[in-house]
Amino acid sequence: MQDLVLNAQWFLAEATTHAAEAGGEHGGGHGGHATLSFMGLMIYTFAIAGLIMILMAFAKKGLKDRVFKGRLLQYFEQLHGFVENLCVGIIGGHGRKYMPMIYTLWLMIFVSNLVALAFPSSPTADLSFNLGIALLAIGYVQWEGMKANGVFGHWKHFAGPKLPIALIPITLMIFVIELISEVMKNVSLSLRLFGNIDGGHQAATAMNELGKESNLFLVKYLPFGAFLMPIKMLTCVVQALIFCLLFCVYLSLVTHHDHDDHADHAHGEEGGANAHPATT
């Protein structure tokens, strides 16, 4: 049975991944660092989206009942309430309009993270995938910012508070720093997710190598990496939460209409928002 699972995992890994050119150099002694091929990533992504849609299709059957009796639908309702609280709590009353987007991101990231627990790879273990959703999120934040404040108002916000003409160089520096900060949001969002999921994978793979040299059967085949499972499961939830939470924070910063209070407050929270996940 264990051989069957290992063979299936190997087949899936071979079919969907290709070893990095740098794998030999950086992979160390635990099989090299592999990433999903384009088709592999698409297969995983569509499989996860398909799985989510199948679950939704099952859950949808109970939507017409006055009371949601289906366990699956109750889970989706709980999640709906959670996402709604997240949006309304951070962004404000108008945050509900971002719910479909954040709900989708939450589900895709969370299920991808769960997939990473049992499969050799996962979309969120791929930096390109994470960069894609980060670019989408940050791009949407800019779009909403321009819709809320106007194109000029939005970009002017990056220049910081209004300073005397003599301090124009400072204003320019602030503008450039803010732009870099904005670009770095993409990097931080994607690298954080990638690092946690792929890092968990690498750690589990490395730990599974423990005891391979032992003569004791029990020790030789004991999956030490499985001991990481509780913390990896926690990571699945936390990383999906952090991504969505930060997305909400960024949206909140650009869509608050009280600009006077917002300027200082926003910069303060931005730092705080970035600082908090870094400790995770």
Binding site: E21, F38, M42, K97, T104, F129, I133
Partner: protein
């Protein structure tokens, strides 16, 4: 309230447009993944950071489609169902609240009517008691009057009987006195004169008594 801020269903052209853009990005990403490699990607790959911008672009395309599809397929119906249920519950609670208010009003009316009825009953009882007391007084007065009448009649009869008895007694005493006197004196005394003397004597005795 929540419906106002929840995104309404996108128009069909918007949805189709997003799906087309998403599909185009997926295709462009696929093309870029297999044919285009930027300089910084190679340097990143050399450092062990595996980045494929083709995949990134394709993922953006996939999510553009997914946002719309999942929203139409599930999120919107779920949100509508939850809102409908919330409205139903609010309406039910509202009806229950109005029924409760109605019941409270009915209860207060009932209590008021009960209190009025009790007050009426008390007043009626008091009136009956008063009437009974009046009747009792009246009956007592009648009885007293009747008793007084009986008493007066009895006194009058007693007096009459007394006078009669006294008269008879006087006659008898006179007779006895005369008989006694005749026996004592042994002579026949003029009865009329003696009787007159005895009468005078007895009258004087009665007057003393």
């Amino acid at each position: 309230m929540s419906e106002k801020s929840y995104p309404k269903k996108s128009s069909a052209p918007m949805t189709i447009g997003m799906i087309i853009v998403g599909a185009a990005l997926m295709y462009g990403g696929m093309y870029m993944s297999s044919n285009v490699t930027l300089g910084f990607q190679e340097s990143l790959n050399e450092q062990g950071i595996l980045l494929d911008l083709g995949k990134t672009i394709a993922v953006i395309g996939v999510f553009l489609i997914l946002f719309k599809v999942l929203d139409l397929f599930f999120f919107n119906p779920l949100h509508v169902a939850i809102d409908t249920r919330t409205d139903d519950l609010e309406r039910t609670f509202g009806e229950a609240e109005s029924l409760r208010a109605e019941m409270t009003q009915m209860k207060s009316e009932y209590e008021k009517r009960l209190a009025d009825t009790e007050a009426d009953a008390r007043a009626q009882i008091q009136a009956q008691i008063k009437e009974a007391q009046d009747l009792k007084k009246s009956l007592m007065a009648d009885a007293q009057r009747q008793a007084d009448d009986y008493k007066q009649t009895a006194i009058a009869e007693i007096d009459a009987e007394k006078k009669k008895v006294m008269t008879e007694l006087r006659v008898e005493v006179t007779k006895l006195s005369l008989q006694a006197t005749e026996k004592i004196l042994g002579a026949n005394v003029d009865s009329d004169r003696n009787r007159k003397l005895i009468d005078e004597f007895l009258t004087s005795v009665e007057a003393k008594n």
